[in-house]
Symmetry: C2
Subunit: 333 residues, 2 copies
Amino acid sequence: MSIVLTGDRPTGPLHLGHYIGSLKNRLDLQHKHQMYIMIADTQALTDYFDRPQFVRDNIWQIAQDYLAIGLDACDIFIQSTIKALPELTMYYMNLVTLARVTRNPTVKAELKQKASKESFEQSAPCGFVCYPISQAADITCVQAELIPVGIDQLPMIEQANEIVRKFNSMYKTDVLKESQAILSETSRLIGIDGNAKASKSLNNCIFLIDSPDVVKQKVMSMYTDPNHIRVSDPGNVKNNVVFHYLEAFYEDKEDLAAMKAHYKKGGLGDVTIKQKLIGILENILEPIRERRSKIKQTDVEAIVYAGCKKASKTAHEVLYKVKEAMHLNFDIN
Amino acid sequence: MSIVLTGDRPTGPLHLGHYIGSLKNRLDLQHKHQMYIMIADTQALTDYFDRPQFVRDNIWQIAQDYLAIGLDACDIFIQSTIKALPELTMYYMNLVTLARVTRNPTVKAELKQKASKESFEQSAPCGFVCYPISQAADITCVQAELIPVGIDQLPMIEQANEIVRKFNSMYKTDVLKESQAILSETSRLIGIDGNAKASKSLNNCIFLIDSPDVVKQKVMSMYTDPNHIRVSDPGNVKNNVVFHYLEAFYEDKEDLAAMKAHYKKGGLGDVTIKQKLIGILENILEPIRERRSKIKQTDVEAIVYAGCKKASKTAHEVLYKVKEAMHLNFDIN
């Protein structure tokens, strides 16, 4: 039993991409480990500093999503409520050079994504540039040992461990612990329009809050094979969004293989495979909807606030030891 | 009556350069305004992160110096005890680009001083690069209106005011207030060896803790005019360390003018002017020594901790309003 830290930026409701990419895995992890889920509002603000109410609203949206999915054997907390975090970050910032943090491949890629200009590194806010350091604070404040991440996030764990090693050696202590990544195997879910990126702004995701009608309409609009005009025509399963989703969500791999063969040969209609997919997705979404209907906002708040208190307590203890190692504790009553 | 913020990095005992450059001015300010003095240990650590015990020791040294000088009508606090500060800094970091902070003339000059390499900007720790942002947090956390600074520190006030304006306009609030610099007129005191920089590492300062014997020995070792061999020789008052100190500390400007004329003409010996200077310095230092002899470490702690509590309370209120403007307050009991 290890301590696991995972989380999301509250910048939109969770969708099926999140479900298959990480949430499903967390449902499993919460029973094997002591798991924390951090709603990274402070981190979201490094990007969305001009939209604080949007971030605020999504904190509760995402917390409700977690509970609706069944993440009820873990501790959910809001990043900005952990007072130890900014202080830890400040101390870690002395241990990382500007060169090191801007060389971080994840930060580099994100900066590039944001602007085509080479100089964007310079026009990025300091908060954004330093967020890998703030992530090291997130990880260490709950003494996390395992961090489930996608492969693109590996440099963040490496950066955090570098800080841990540097801190421990600089201040002759062993208070901070290194963490390990758990790589998720699942590849990214594409958008319902076939776009590689599923995002709220592209309006191409199926959200966990979508009603059956909306799910149906979204699946029905999915791109299949433009040459598959009549049911009897042979069809292509490659670049076929419906089969991409079936691959991700249909657990009967034997039946899926048979469906693919049938579709390729001809005789399996788009409406049939779409209805099949709707059924499979509804098997996931219906229990989520049912759980959600029973959750009151006051319950969400009570659960999240309890998580905040627990994470805060641990973080405070870590900060105390960190400051002790730095000779920075004072006896003020 | 305004709120004044001033302070020092705890990286060595205070010396006569501090006295003439800022401490004397503070003795006056503390009776006209509500004055805070911040012992900037967190800021010192951006530079001295590898010497935490050194910083810690100097916190108490410097606090004792303040009280010995007679700074007893103000609030002295330790930066690292103000929990609101790192959090304010983190939010402000989203409002300042990396380009803006590295273009700050004070930071630029300090980076250059530290290394001849052009690339030092990149090899500086993030904590150092971002310290102007952290200074904006210092200023705003006690709602300071007036900041006594040297001319080289003006860009820091400008940077802080930029953050204040950006925050208020971004979050549609008026919670943060701009501050004004009070420029000190006094020029920098040179070292007793004539070096433009008086510093502990060069061992060329007269410290407020120096004993009468040490003061005497330091003044006697001062560089005067190498061509002023016999008392009757005409002497040069320019580049003459003793006259530089007399300019700074002797308040009878008429007598000083007469001494200069006498020295230039010939007939005024180095030993005589040095003994004159010793007397003038002792008039300042003796009362400081006497006050110091009556101070117990427990008194210093009690006074500083009371200051920490007061500053902390104000800072907490400011942070509350800042978070309110950012929709980041949660009702966790």
